[in-house]
């Protein structure tokens, strides 16, 4: 046993660091995400021993090694299923899933949508770099059509998923987007996800500077950011631009339009808690080229959690019926032989 520093409450960012060397490529967006998560955890005062981080396989999925909490680096695509077992059997734990676009959208797509459907109390951070990083750069289900990679030398024919749209379709109750390079906004979004009781998804646009460098620079670079990013703010109109001089409204057929000038007051007022999912869907499926890219919370609706429902049945059954092992076995039609 080697000595490690003991951590007196309240915890600081540093307390969440482990003794493992961080093994992402220098310049990888994953570093900023790690930083934002540690920042959020410190803000929220998360206890190390009450937190479990479950990941799949991928560069992103190495995340747990760098967090001084319980960590389970599992197998490709299965983190939501494993985390569902963790959370359902012990709802007191604070359970996080860290995954990638390949891990969550490709091999793990089914567990992902079912976690959304069930509303298990998991916080899912999906690092979307639109590429398979760990296996050295094949296109992923979020890569744009025509992407040239080693497995698609003439350009990929696949259309990409919108993870936000997919999650909305699957019935997710908290769905948000952040970007690696927007640290404070990301930290804030992670805090919001943490506060949500049901399944919370944060899609995080992450730059893979080795295999998909600049995937997001069209809207993240300093010079273009203001014009290309749409911050979703609950209760506020959808405005963007350095001077908030542009807005998004929807026509009678829900088709999005950019408005300016006098029309600015027709900008849609964002309600992340709307009962019907259609406005969120309209935003999630806006063309990335034509429209600004929305970040922040697309949807937030409270609805009883899966694990709560399960454990409530157990508690009720237990209080209704006590049964010893003897009573359990010596039940039904029994008879004696002497």
């Amino acid at each position: 046993m080697t000595a490690v520093p003991t951590s007196p409450a309240p915890l600081t960012k540093k307390d969440y660091k482990t003794d493992q060397e961080v093994r992402w490529c220098p310049g990888c967006g994953d570093y900023s995400i790690l930083n934002a998560v540690q920042g959020a955890f410190a803000k929220l005062g998360k206890q190390l021993h009450e937190t479990v981080i479950v990941s799949g396989i991928g560069c992103s999925s190495r995340f747990p090694y760098y967090m001084e909490t319980f960590g389970f680096h599992t197998i490709h695509g299965r983190a939501p299923a494993i985390a569902t077992g963790v959370k359902t059997s012990n709802p007191a734990l604070d359970v996080w899933v860290v995954t990638g676009d390949g891990d969550a959208m490709s091999i793990g797509g089914n567990h992902f949508i079912h976690a959304m459907r069930r509303n298990v109390g998991l916080k899912i951070l999906m690092f979307n770099n639109r590429i398979y990083g760990l296996t050295k750069g094949q296109f992923s289900p979020t890569s744009e059509q025509g992407k040239v990679t080693k497995s698609s030398p003439l350009g990929s024919v696949d259309y990409p998923f919108s993870p936000i749209a997919l999650s909305l379709g699957a019935g997710g109750t908290f769905i948000a987007r952040g970007i690696d390079v927007f640290g404070p906004h990301l930290e804030d979004t992670i805090c919001k996800a943490s506060a949500h009781k049901g399944t919370a998804l944060v899609e995080i646009y992450q730059n893979c500077n080795i295999f998909n460098d600049g995937a997001y620079k069209g809207f993240t670079e300093k010079e273009v950011r203001d014009e290309r990013i749409l911050y979703l703010e609950h209760g506020k109109p959808l405005l963007f631009g350095a001077n908030k001089d542009k807005g998004i409204r929807f026509d009678a057929n829900f088709q999005p339009q950019i408005v300016t000038g006098a029309d600015l007051d027709k900008a849609f007022v964002w309600d992340e808690t709307a009962a019907n999912v259609a406005p969120a869907m309209a935003l999630a499926t806006m063309s990335e080229g034509e429209f600004p890219v929305p970040v922040g919370v697309f949807r937030r609706r409270e609805k009883p959690n899966f694990e709560t429902g399960i454990q409530a049945q157990i508690t009720a059954a237990k209080s209704k019926k006590k049964e010893s092992i003897r009573d359990l076995l010596f039940a039904g039609e029994i008879w004696d032989v002497s």
Binding site: F72, G85, I310
Partner: protein
């Protein structure tokens, strides 16, 4: 069905027999499983030993009256200790021509055929692929045929019932049951009670069913066609309290009892699949024992959720059958690497692929042993009878927790749906299952997730939520002790060896192999799983004939018992009947270099003990073993 003596005192004759095999066969909709089940309960309560074998049609409903739609239930009861539901039935109840067609050939010569004549129209015959009416073309020659128009009789009997005609007709199985109750001198009271309970909310159904049963009983008693009733006196069974139990049920009870004893919350992650679904169903009813059941989106999520549950300090279980087992392979590998307790139940069915879901087989042994990438050893244990499944379920939990590893439990469709009287264990005497979660970490120390118990090599079970235990594990190779990712050659070799050694260590817990018969001789018959009954029956018979033959049934398949090699070497020949192409035989041959002879049958049906008997006889003959003349019947003990 051998007559032993005749008792006077009943209106008609009453004959004592020492055993009877009855098969009910009819359309899926005819209620044959229910009828068989009622007969079984009554007979169990009357003190006979009993064994049952339901033979379901393919899962999907076939059109009424066709061959694929036939459902059967065989039961054997006796006044001595029995091991199988019997080979050829003494009595066949055939509810329609299709049932007749499928099952008649199995009825033993001179056996009784109770034939429902209600549906023998040309169309009915065609559906059953009969060219001519079998009642008139000599087909039935050689059997004692009793023809009854069950539908007409039942309608008559229920003249006063408020049910519509269709409802009345559906009671015909109870009419048939009444006839059999009279024939075999059974008590109707338990069935009366059961039916009253089952339809508690529909009194008119209770009334009609019981009326039909009693009418059948009366009909048999009064009509001329039945000359004798038979009686099978109670068996001399070990003293104690009994309960009739089916395999899936008893497996569940074993798990729940073990969970209670260990003080662990059970978590079942499962996805429905024949013939394992009833485990999910049954465990779902034990919420008052704190059992969490999670019906997952597929088998992968099922096993993964169970791994997550074990990780968090519950006992993770997953239940499935062959195709589902194939899907779980990758995740079981993770559990092996993470060294977490996990119980995996495979109720085997006939494969490969979808195969024949309602038929039995034991061809998933090698999959259990080797069906994962890399060197990925797990413990493998097998249930051998419906009652045995209790102990096996219990043992699986004990081992998983003690050694911190996955345990695969093999059962099969024959065990799962078969039933037998179960001598209930004393709950106090069930083995202890000590669980030691890692204690809170001391400030200034770092928790070592792969520090090992010196004796078992188990790593600590560290429950998230416990202070000072934060650590990281995963499916990548880890350095021993620290659990950090490690790609070093020596470490990997050490970890591969350690994981193998952990499984090997379990052998220390295995009691000496119990044999039936001496530990040396001419032939040793080995078995595992549901072949046990047929093997035991044929061995006992050959022992009675004076042969130097013994048998043993292995519960532990990985690791194998320490005394197995010596035991085998004490015989001239080792024979291993399996419902596969010789899977355990292969493992034993490789390990011990002994010429274990595989006796294989892969047809979706359990072995018939007379087939095993014949094979063993031939084997004995080839060894020049002598044979006394004698009864070919199983011994009483």
């Amino acid at each position: 069905m051998q007559t032993s003596n005749t008792t006077a005192g009943t209106e008609k004759g009453l004959q004592d027999l020492d055993q009877i095999v009855i098969r009910f066969a009819g359309d899926s909709g005819d209620g044959m499983q229910l009828t068989g089940d009622q007969f079984t309960r009554t007979t169990a309560l009357m003190g006979n030993d009993i064994a049952t074998f339901p033979d379901f049609p393919a899962e999907i409903r076939a059109p009424a009256g066709t061959l694929p739609g036939v459902s059967a239930f065989q039961l054997r009861f006796s006044s001595f200790d029995i091991h199988t539901p019997g080979d050829a039935p003494d009595v066949l109840v055939a509810m329609n021509p299709a049932a007749l067609k499928v099952h008649l050939k199995e009825l033993r010569k001179d056996g009784i055929l109770l034939l429902n004549t209600a549906s023998f129209s040309a169309l009915d015959l065609k559906k059953a692929k009969y060219e001519k009416d079998p009642r008139t073309d000599g087909t039935l020659d050689g059997w004692r045929v009793i023809e009854v128009d069950l539908e007409a009789r039942t309608l008559e009997a229920l003249a006063t019932s408020k049910l519509d005609n269709r409802g009345k007709e559906r009671c015909k199985n109870m009419y048939a049951l009444g006839i059999l109750y009279w024939m075999f001198h059974r008590d109707m009271a338990p069935t009366e009670k059961a039916i009253a309970q089952k339809f508690a909310k529909k009194p008119e159904l209770v009334e009609a069913n019981l009326m039909a049963m009693k009418a059948g009983f009366a009909y048999a008693e009064t009509t001329e066609i039945f000359q004798t009733a038979y009686r099978v006196p109670p068996a001399q069974m070990k003293p104690g309290t009994y309960r009739n139990i089916m395999g899936n049920q008893s497996l569940c009870l074993g798990l729940v009892a073990a969970g209670q004893k260990a003080g662990l919350q059970l978590f079942l992650g499962s996805y429905p699949i024949t013939p394992a679904s009833d485990i999910l169903h049954q465990l779902s009813t034990y919420k008052h024992h704190g059992v969490v059941t999670f019906q997952a989106e597929d088998e992968i999520a099922a096993v993964c959720s169970a791994i997550g549950a074990s990780y968090s300090g519950s006992l993770g279980i997953t239940s499935t059958s062959g195709p589902g087992m194939a899907l779980k392979a990758e995740a079981i590998g993770l559990a092996v690497m993470a060294e977490l307790p996990l119980v995996i139940l495979n109720v085997q069915r006939a494969g490969p692929s979808t195969g024949m879901p309602t038929k039995t087989q034991q061809a998933d042994l090698l999959q259990a042993m080797y069906g994962r990438n890399g060197e990925c050893p797990v413990a493998v244990i097998a249930a051998s009878t419906p009652a045995d499944a209790f102990e096996v379920g219990y043992e699986a939990v004990r081992i998983a927790v003690k050694y911190m590893l996955p345990v695969i439990v093999l059962s099969d469709g024959y065990i799962a749906n078969g039933s037998e009287p179960w001598l209930l264990p004393d709950p106090e005497k069930l083995p202890a299952i000590p669980v030691k979660f890692a204690p809170e970490g001391q400030p200034g120390t770092k928790f070592m997730p792969y520090a090992r118990d010196a004796q078992t090599l188990a790593r600590p079970w560290a429950k998230p939520g416990t202070k000072g235990l934060v650590h990281r594990i995963g499916g990548i190779e880890k350095a021993d002790v620290t659990g950090n990712i490690c790609y070093e050659a020596d470490n990997h070799q050490h970890m591969v060896d350690t994981r193998a050694q952990k499984v090997a260590n379990i052998a220390a817990d295995i009691p000496p192999i119990e044999t039936i018969g001496p530990r040396t001789g001419d032939v040793l018959v080995l078995g595992w799983g549901s072949t046990r009954g047929a093997i035991t029956a044929s061995t006992l018979r050959l022992q009675k004939d004076g042969h130097k033959i013994s048998c043993a049934c292995l519960r532990f398949l990985n690791p194998l018992p320490n005394d197995l090699g010596d035991l085998m070497r004490g015989f001239k020949k080792v024979v291993l009947p399996e419902m596969n192409k010789g899977q355990l035989a292969m493992i034993l041959r490789a390990k011990y270099l002994i010429d274990v002879v595989s006796f294989s049958q892969v047809n979706g049906q359990p072995f018939k003990s007379h087939d095993i008997h014949a094979f063993l006889q031939k084997t004995l003959a080839s060894l020049g073993s002598t044979r006394d003349a004698g009864s070919a019947k199983e011994t009483r003990r």
